[in-house]
Amino acid sequence: MDIPERVLQGDRLALARLLTWLENDQPRGRAALDALFPHTGKSHIIGVTGPSGSGKSSLVNRLALQLAQADGSQPARRVAVLAMDPSSPFSGGALLGDRVRMRDLMECPEIFIRSMASRGALGGLARAAGELVLALEAAGFDIILVETVGAGQSEVDIARLAHTTLVVEAPGLGDDIQAAKAGILEIADILVVNKSDKSGAESAAHTLAAMLEIGAELKAETSAPQAAWKVPVQLTSALNREGMVSLAAAIHEHFTWLNASGEWERRAQARLEDLFNRLLRERLYEDWQRSQPQANLSEALQSLRKRETSPYSLIERLFS
């Protein structure tokens, strides 16, 4: 049986191999994703971002279990986790350690976890993250949790990939002005203040809620109020397993709002266009590079280095 068929039938090893091919940008990965594409688009993609050490992995560990199990309002769901950690800019290698915090999940073999290195991409997400998510969708996971590299500064990429973005903060990681400056609050659909067991968590939650209110007021001046989603602030302790039922409920509420408001479709469309645009850019660049005689290019780069030509006029010349 071939890989796409095996993935559709729930073969985990086939899925894992496909993820590797996609990560490495191998042609057979693209061919497999071609076949699987009609089976994508049904999963709820949840981004988990926030500063390093705020407890994203620890939270995912508890939250994935909460979301996987049936509760009063929800049936049991199939959950996958895609966890990003940074690559070393020096060696190109990576130490992927998010699993250390996901011990409970590792005891549940039905929850699929994949660690991914950022491989030089900026903005908290690896370049191929979108393609890996597509493969996980085709494999039939109802919920895909995507943990970004910890940074805390404008990880807009995750907001464009996910239907629902959780921004995870923790007490003692910076003040409200830093949060406002970093733009991290703007991408939050749900703001989580983790480590509620520590002092300062509640006051951090209040401060952040006030910041969110300012943002919401400014937004209301420019957009239709009836469609607005009010970003909730959720206090959790991944350490003590507190706040998970409430957080899962907030996620479900957002899911309901996404569908009712038409945002689900809009975000799905934007995500696919992002992927298409990126692939198009890469293709155009590759084709162009291949069409250039090698001597041409290195000569041009020489004149750049000698400062005989500016980058602008060099591009004009290459395209004239």
């Binding site: 894992a16 990560e23 490495n24 990576a94 699993r99 250390v100 073999p109």
Partner: protein
Amino acid sequence: MNRKIRVLIAKPGLDGHDRGAKVIARALRDAGMEVIYTGLRQTPEMITNAAMQEDVDAVGLSILSGAHMTLVPRVLELMKANGQGEVCVFVGGIIPEEDARELEKLGVKAVYGPGTPTTQVIADLTQMVEPA
């Protein structure tokens, strides 16, 4: 194309010393590999399930507890059952010579005692593993 050797470094069993595992994880990262580190006290089931989901090229087991003759064969057996019999498995720790020979017969690719230079592990892995 951007292929990287992916290695799972795991600590099966109950001993709580993971310095050796951390040193080798760090060294492999610095050699350009992608290392998935899973932390302490992993069962063979957890390790092999992670190895499958992560589609690794190699699995390194760090064992100081003396339980290697039960843990390692179990890991090998589960990996075969999962369709990962080809994945390179290596072991680090305090392993008596005859046990090492026995483990190699069962399919372990290399056994490293305390004080093995990390450069040797890196060289061996690079040679043994062809990334997917």
